[in-house]
């Protein structure tokens, strides 16, 4: 939910500029999977700050709990046991909205102002404008938005836009006991990641790297991965995510063109009528 209502770069289903007089600094959250111990403190902090409570689930014999993102669990820890050249590895990733620079949800949304992107890069849902169509779910390349069964509105991580607006870090960042989650300007975070990656490489993780996928214009939630060459190892993190071509086809120039086409069809009918005229039964020919 918004506080920085005056710094909007993009607004769903809106064709004129949004209030964008000021340019705030682009922010990013950096999640270092190599430092994460999977304690879920961030999951708890998220629920605490945002006052969401998920239903008590079932034990599936794995650490993942709940098993998936929900309208109440905006972030979940994903645990993957994988065999790599280093033997058995336990890879843990904090999953949630990536806050894409080019957000597929916002592109797909038909309701004006239900999704906005602040000039600091945060992508936020304004549920009061949401009509519950779920187009954003189809638009998202990371499968993040969840439709509430209670109110038919969609929910997801806000990157604590309310906290960030008043100069605080997101709740998950504040709580992380190992410092695996850090927050700041996107530039600083990329710089911080460089140091981490150099360190990891020195310690034998030759493919360590930053996950900031260009296919979606970069993200405002980034990962440091030990195996940046194989992001799929981390519970299917997409290697080269981008807005699906089907969504681009659906939401691209085809739409204004289609409307133009319909308008033209109506006009063509009107001018045909005033030039050629109607088909009437001609009295004289009929009586002959």
């Amino acid at each position: 939910m918004p506080l920085q209502s005056l710094d909007i770069t993009r607004r769903s289903a809106t064709t004129t500029p949004s209030p964008s007089q000021r340019q705030t600094e682009e922010v990013a959250k950096l999640i270092d999977t190599t430092k994460c111990i999977g304690c879920k403190a961030c999951q708890v902090a998220c629920m605490e700050w945002n006052d969401t409570r998920d239903a008590i689930g079932d034990n599936h014999g794995v650490y993942d709990n709940p098993m998936d993102l929900t309208e109440n669990s905006w972030t979940v820890m994903r645990y993957s046991e994988v065999e790599t050249d280093r033997g058995l590895e336990w890879l843990i990733r904090k999953d949630g909205c990536m806050h894409c620079a080019d957000p597929g949800c916002l592109k797909a949304c038909p309701a004006p102002g239900a999704i906005v992107q602040y000039s600091n890069g945060i992508v936020d849902f304004h549920e009061e404008n949401c009509i519950g169509c779920g187009y954003c779910i189809a638009g998202c390349p990371f499968n993040v938005p969840r439709l509430s069964k209670k109110d038919s509105k969609v929910y997801k991580c806000t990157l604590c836009s309310d906290r960030v607006a008043v100069g605080l870090e997101p709740a998950c960042v504040k709580t992380c006991p190992t410092g695996a989650i850090v927050f700041g300007s996107k530039e600083d975070m990329a710089h911080h990641a460089e140091g981490r990656i150099a360190d990891l490489k020195e310690r034998g993780f030759a493919n360590a790297g930053l996950y900031d996928p260009a296919g979606v214009g970069g993200t405002h939630v980034m990962y440091v991965l030990h195996h940046a060459d194989q992001p799929e190892l981390y519970h299917g993190l997409p290697k080269d995510p981008s807005i699906s071509p089907l969504v681009s086809l659906w939401k691209g120039v085809t739409k204004p063109l289609a409307l133009f086409g319909l308008g033209l069809t109506v006009l063509a009918g009107f001018f045909h009528y005033v030039t050629v005229g109607p088909k009437e039964v001609d009295e004289e020919t009929e009586s002959s």
Partner: protein, 209 residues
Amino acid sequence: MREKLIQRYTPPERANHWVVAIAFVLLALSGLALFHPSLYWLSSLFGGGPWMRILHPFIGVVLALSFVALALRLWRFNRMSKDDEQWLCQIGDVMRNRDSKLPEAGRYNAGQKLLFYVMVACVALLLLSGIVIWRPWFAGAFPLVMVRLGAVIHALSAFVLIAGIIVHIYAAILTKGSIHAMVRGTVPQAWARKHHPAWYREMTEGSNR
């Protein structure tokens, strides 16, 4: 002299047609509101965005069912013939109202038949794709790629159908007397002889004229 009338549509046929027509208009208005931001204001006609989103698919089901009933009633009149192909080749004459040069049309002319099949295909596609993208009920059961494909197919077939119906409505305005046929059910004999000569002969054969 009082004009002789021929029955073209029975009361049940007319009622069926107008159920389809009303459902279509509601669907086109609500669908277009979702289709492009410039038309989002149409959502006010349905009590706002959420109500429009809720109602659209249910109206869609009404349309699909009533359309199937109508299509079954009219199916046998819409078979294409050799003459129909010739008619379509002379579309220029149709547009310039040189109707006497055209091959004789039966109960429906080739343009009407073609549009009939376009409508059948579009409604089938709209129903199937509409179910795939229908939240909260069905969309969750389909993989995301199918929901995306469903949305594209739905938008595309809606575009084709709306364009087709614009042509359909214009043809009704253009051909004087046809709106009366669908509202009151009858047409003058002269109308039938001019616009659907083969049908006219069929209807009047055996009877005195």
